[in-house]
């Protein structure tokens, strides 16, 4: 079992004729992902990696029965691509694009709330169910199949933690990179509830970071609703207040909200062991299982 994606997920890649789109569509296909179409305006009728390209997402979804989309479109056009995916409609949209203007995302977010679609991202590495399908840019070879669910705001931190897990023989049901932007589709709470409902997931790792209050909200949710145990990690303990650390969301205000401390405290109070190092996170998962 898995959440969001599996062998049957039929994927359309928006932007498949671009440099990133073509490369990562190839990587996804090589991993075994069921990529059934590409969508690029003006490029309908072409083929990329043997996959047919359509002018619109609706046509791609209809002709190929697609139910998920991966958006690898430059930031200036990404919001429009997201609206198009939501309107086609598909059940799952994975937005890899980094640097989408915040006000564009606010409008997309508003529209998202009027649909039943799951949006992952933007500015995320994607979603992977090891051995079945990857939607995004994650390096497939470090993942292994198993019973740990993973949720992370950071791409490379996902890889690091997965590496520590895989090293111990702790495979993953699904790993979800939810993205580091201030406005994202699926957040920790959404992803936690998906894993809670998945009988194959026996433990969950949640990798958060400074900025925002998503981790604090997740802690409340875990305390009130979760039976599957969760292990945590928070990046940015050493970040000085007022400075932005890369991710748009990773900024600590001077007031104490959004700090690593407040997140670690909230999670600890909800019974979530928070590791000091990725290695310790793997230790904690072993103990929870």
């Amino acid at each position: 079992m898995s959440v969001l994606v599996d062998d049957d997920t039929r994927v359309v890649v928006q932007g498949i004729t671009g440099g990133e789109g073509e490369f990562h569509a190839g990587q996804m296909i090589e991993y075994g992902t069921n990529v059934v179409a590409g969508a690029v305006p003006g490029r309908g009728g072409e083929e990329v990696h043997g996959v047919p390209v359509y002018d619109t997402v609706s046509r791609a979804a209809e002709a190929e029965n697609a139910d998920a989309s991966v958006v690898l479109v430059p930031p200036a056009f990404a919001a429009d691509a997201l609206f198009e995916a939501l309107d086609s409609p598909v059940d799952l949209v994975v937005a890899i694009t980094e640097g989408i203007p915040a006000q564009d995302m606010a409008r997309v977010y508003k529209r998202l709330g009027e649909t039943d679609t799951h949006l992952i991202g933007p500015n995320c590495p994607g979603v992977i169910t090891p051995g079945e399908a990857k939607l995004g840019i994650l390096p497939g070879n470090i993942f292994s199949s198993g019973n740990v669910g993973l949720i992370s705001r950071s791409g490379t931190l996902t890889y690091q933690v997965v590496d520590n897990l895989t090293d111990r023989g702790l495979g993953q049901t699904t790993a979800i990179g939810i993205g580091g932007d201030p406005i994202i589709g699926t957040d920790f709470v959404d992803a936690l509830s998906l894993f809670e409902d998945d009988p194959a997931t026996d433990a969950i790792v949640m990798c958060g970071e400074i900025g925002g209050t998503d981790e604090e909200e997740a802690a409340e949710y875990i305390d009130a609703n979760m039976t599957t145990p969760v292990a945590g990690f928070i990046a940015g303990r050493t970040a000085p207040p007022g400075k932005r650390m890369g991710h748009a969301g990773a900024i600590v205000s001077g007031s104490g909200a959004g700090t690593a401390e407040s997140k670690i405290e909230a999670l600890s109070e909800a019974g979530v062991p928070v590791g000091d190092t990725p290695e310790e996170v793997a230790d904690n998962v072993e103990e929870l299982l």
Binding site: P101, A106, K110, S154, T156, E209
Partner: protein, 381 residues
Amino acid sequence: MRLHEYQAKEVFAEAGLPTPDAELAESTDEVLAAADSIGYPVAVKAQVHVGGRGKAGGIEIADSDDEVREAADSILGMDLKGYTVDRVLVEAAVDFVDELYVGVTMDRGEGKPVAMVSSEGGVNIEEVAEENPEAIAREHVDPAFGMHPYQARRAVYDAGVESDVASDVAGVLSTLYDLWADSDAEDTEVNPVMVTSDREVVCADAVMNIDDDALFRHPDLAEMEEAAAEDDLEAKANEYGFDYVRLEGNVGIIGNGAGLVMTTLDLVDYYGGAPANFLDIGGGAKAERVANALDMVFADENVDSVVFNIFGGITRGDEVAQGINDAIAQFDELPKPIVVRLAGTNAEEGMEILNTDALDVEETLEGAVQRAVEHAGGESQ
């Protein structure tokens, strides 16, 4: 991108907001001439990207030539929280009876714009938000529709603004929202909006931050960007296009991806060292970018050792290794010890070409960090 007060005021004035007469000046003579043409009293205000200028001595009110000369002499050239003041805004001082706060920003938690009004203006609004949140009236706005006039009115009346100026203040809020939306701002703020004894409303300050990700569609605003007189290293980072933050310690840190770089910083601290910087080379970095990153960290005199932590996804280990080789090839002896950890995409290819004679190589993140901390003379376990 943050606009200076004088730039934001120009934008605000063009949009029809009431702003005081003002002139930019770079010397005491220019300040005197400006005060003369505007008429006393004037406010002399340092134009640097620093909050709390007033408390730090960056804003003075002057009522005569002597006072304005004194203010100009003390403010021009002063160091304000690390920034040298080379320009001031000379502005008609407003005789006010009341100060309000009006602002628009993105509520990240809600994913919606939020318009705010408070009758407690002229003070640190973050403190008000924390200590007395009811003193700020908030209206969330549907970004697809924009702010309705009733929302501006509701915020103003909820904030307890007196009714004879309520409609003017609502007008300020509406205009600020439109500016916010039209210019892809992160925030547009006036603190304080001053109410004069004649019951007029004046925008005595102006804050405007533009979303860097949206600058491509605002070439006119992008042109207003000025190289700030900031830290040399941060200026260099801007030039190279890195996410870089300078810190107090002596272990230089380079990595890919914000979350992983933050984690590397945290581990340096955990193992008893002190990080000198946050430097994210970003995704898909090629050899030249990697070399630039090393150049940056070497340029920091505080750095005693460097840890290079790469977990390739979209970034390729062989490209990174080539960049490191290129960067160190120019030295007979490395100025500072470098510990490299390469994992993920093409890491094996990278390890094959990496010049391991000159570098320390570690397989794990923990190992690399501990080694770098030892090199820097810190503790380790």
